[in-house]
C-alpha cells in the first residue's frame, strides 16, 4: 500500500517546528507503525536527509517509550494498543496520516517526535515508592493481601508511564498516570506507611511540573494502551482529601 505521512519535524527545542509530508510506497500491511517509519527513515538517510527522531525500545507494548499522536489520537486508532503494536493493516491505501509528538508544557519536544518525559520521573520520585526494610526478601505469604486488592493493584500497576493520558487530555493533565500509581501502591499493605504523604507529594510534583487539572472528560482512559480505568482518579481525589484533612 502507498500512503502519505505528515510528520512533525523540529530540529531541536528552540526550533518552531512544522508538519512535513512524505510519500511512503509499498508499505507492508504487516509492518508495525514504527517499522513503517523505519523504512521511511532508511530512505531519508539514503537521500542524505535527517531521519525522523522518535522514541522506541521494546516494540512489544510493555516499555512505554513509543509516543506518537496518530491522526490526533495518542497511539493511533486501535484501542488498548501502543504505537509499536499498531499495524499498517489498520490503514488504507492512499491514506494521509498525521503524526505528532505528545503535546504538553511538561513534555517539551527534544527533537521531531521525541519529548522529554522526565516530568513523570519527578512525580515518581516524589512518592512512587514504598519503605522496605533491608535484608532478605520476606516470604511471599508473610503479608496477606486480599485477592480483590491484589487484582485491582495489579490492574493499576500495568501503567507503563507512556504519557498517552497527558497527550489526549484536553487539560494536559497527568491525573490518570498519578492515580494509577496512587492506586497501585495504596492498595497494598506495603504501601500504607507513605499513603498520605505519597498522594500529597505526587500531586504537588504533578502540579509543579505544569500539568493541568482533571475535568473528568475521560479522554485519557480512551487512549490508554493498558486500559487503566478512569475511576482510579476518584481514589486519588479521595486519598488526597483524607490526607489533607489529617494534616
Amino acid at each position: 500500500m502507498d500512503i502519505k505521512v505528515r510528520v512533525w519535524r523540529q530540529s531541536g527545542p528552540g526550533d518552531r517546528g512544522r508538519m512535513v509530508t512524505y510519500d511512503v510506497k509499498d508499505v507492508s500491511p504487516d509492518a508495525s507503525f514504527l517499522e513503517m517509519i523505519d523504512v521511511l527513515n532508511e530512505r531519508l538517510i539514503l537521500d542524505g536527509d535527517d531521519p525522523i527522531a522518535f522514541d522506541h525500545d521494546c516494540r512489544e507494548g510493555i516499555c512505554g517509550m513509543c509516543s506518537m499522536v496518530i491522526n490526533g489520537v495518542a497511539h493511533g486508532p486501535e484501542k488498548a494498543t501502543t504505537t509499536c503494536q499498531l499495524h499498517m493493516r489498520h490503514f488504507s491505501d492512499g491514506d494521509v496520516i498525521d503524526v505528532e509528538p505528545w503535546r504538553a508544557k511538561a513534555f517539551p519536544v527534544i527533537k521531531d517526535l521525541v519529548v522529554d518525559r522526565s516530568a513523570f520521573d519527578k512525580i515518581i520520585q516524589a512518592g512512587g515508592y514504598i519503605s522496605a526494610p533491608t535484608g532478605t526478601a520476606p516470604d511471599a505469604h508473610a503479608t496477606p493481601v486480599p485477592k480483590k486488592d491484589a487484582d485491582a493493584a495489579f490492574e493499576a500497576a500495568t501503567c507503563i508511564a507512556c504519557g498517552a493520558c497527558v497527550a489526549a487530555c484536553p487539560n494536559g493533565s497527568s491525573m490518570l498516570f498519578t492515580a494509577a500509581k496512587i492506586t497501585h501502591l495504596g492498595l497494598m499493605p506495603q504501601g500504607q506507611p507513605e499513603r498520605d504523604s505519597r498522594v500529597i507529594d505526587m500531586l504537588q510534583a504533578q502540579d509543579d511540573a505544569g500539568f493541568g487539572g482533571c475535568t473528568n472528560m475521560g479522554e485519557c482512559a480512551e487512549v490508554c494502551p493498558k486500559g487503566i480505568p478512569l475511576s482510579l482518579i476518584g481514589r486519588l481525589n479521595s486519598d488526597y482529601r483524607k490526607a489533607v484533612t489529617k494534616g
Partner: protein
C-alpha cells in the same frame, strides 16, 4: 571504637521523606480547586432544587404563589428581623458562586498553560457534549443568572416589576407576545441542565466516587437530576405560554 554516632536522618535519593515535603510554591493544588468546585457546585444545585419547588407553587394559583414569595421575606422571623434570612442565603450563594468561578478560572488558566502548542490534527473529543461545554456553558449560565435576578428579583427588566405581586410578574414576563423571553429562558435552562449533567457526576468523582459501576450510576443520577431540574423549571414559562397559568 564505641563512639555512639547518631544515625543521621537521611532522605532517599529523591529527597522525599514519609512526611509531605513542604510546598515550595504556595498555591492551591488542582485537587483542592476541584474540591472547592464540587462543594460550591453542590450548594448551588441544592438551591436550584429548592428554588424549583418554590416555582412549581405557581400551579396552585396566585394566592399560594404570592404567599410563598412573601413568606420567603419573613422566613426566620421572629428569631431574625424581616428579610434577614433571605440576605444570609443570598450571601451564602454568592460566596459559593465566587468560589466556583474562581476555582474554574484558575483551573482553566492552568489547563491552557499546560498545552502551549496545539495539535495540528485534533479529532472531536469522545466525551459528552455536556463535558466539552462546561467552561463556556458555565459563562452562559452565569450571564443568565444576572439577567434572571434583574428580571424576577429586582424587577428592573420585568414588564410588571411589582414586588408585591410576583405571580403577575411571572405571567406578564412569559406572555405569548414576549415569546423571545421564553425562548431565552428555555435555552438558558437547557444550558444549566447540560452543565449539571456532567457537573454532578464530576462532583461525585472529585469527592471520591471510585468504581466503574459507581461511575455508570453517578452518570445516570446526574442526567436524571438534570432532567428533573430542566422539566421543573421549563414547566412554568410553558404553562404561562400555553395559557395553563394566567
Amino acid at each position: 571504637m564505641a563512639v555512639d554516632t547518631p544515625i543521621p536522618k537521611t532522605k532517599n535519593a529523591a529527597g522525599a521523606t514519609a512526611t509531605p515535603t513542604p510546598r515550595t510554591v504556595v498555591r492551591p493544588s488542582s485537587v483542592t480547586l476541584k474540591i472547592i468546585m464540587a462543594v460550591s457546585g453542590i450548594v448551588l444545585v441544592l438551591f436550584l432544587f429548592v428554588h424549583m419547588v418554590g416555582n412549581l407553587k405557581i400551579f396552585l394559583g396566585a394566592t399560594d404563589f404570592n404567599h410563598y414569595a412573601h413568606w420567603l421575606r419573613s422566613l426566620g422571623t421572629p428569631l431574625l428581623p424581616e428579610t434577614w434570612y433571605l440576605w444570609i442565603q443570598r450571601a451564602g450563594l454568592t460566596i459559593a458562586l465566587i468560589a466556583h468561578v474562581y476555582a474554574a478560572a484558575v483551573l482553566t488558566r492552568r489547563a491552557r498553560a499546560a498545552r502551549p502548542v496545539k495539535y495540528a490534527h485534533r479529532p472531536k473529543i469522545q466525551s459528552s457534549y455536556s463535558a466539552r461545554t462546561m467552561r463556556w456553558g458555565g459563562v452562559i449560565v452565569l450571564l443568565f443568572a444576572i439577567y434572571h435576578i434583574l428580571d424576577l428579583t429586582t424587577g428592573h427588566l420585568n414588564p410588571n416589576g411589582d414586588r408585591e405581586h410576583p405571580y403577575t410578574n411571572v405571567v406578564q414576563d412569559f406572555a405569548p407576545d414576549r415569546w423571545y423571553v421564553t425562548l431565552f429562558y428555555t435555552l438558558a435552562i437547557v444550558a444549566v441542565g447540560l452543565h449539571l449533567a456532567h457537573g454532578i457526576f464530576s462532583a461525585a468523582r472529585t469527592l471520591g466516587q471510585q468504581t466503574m459501576k459507581g461511575q455508570r450510576r453517578a452518570k445516570h443520577i446526574a442526567i436524571a437530576l438534570s432532567l428533573v431540574l430542566v422539566v421543573g423549571y421549563l414547566s412554568v414559562p410553558f404553562a404561562v405560554l400555553t395559557g395553563l397559568v394566567d
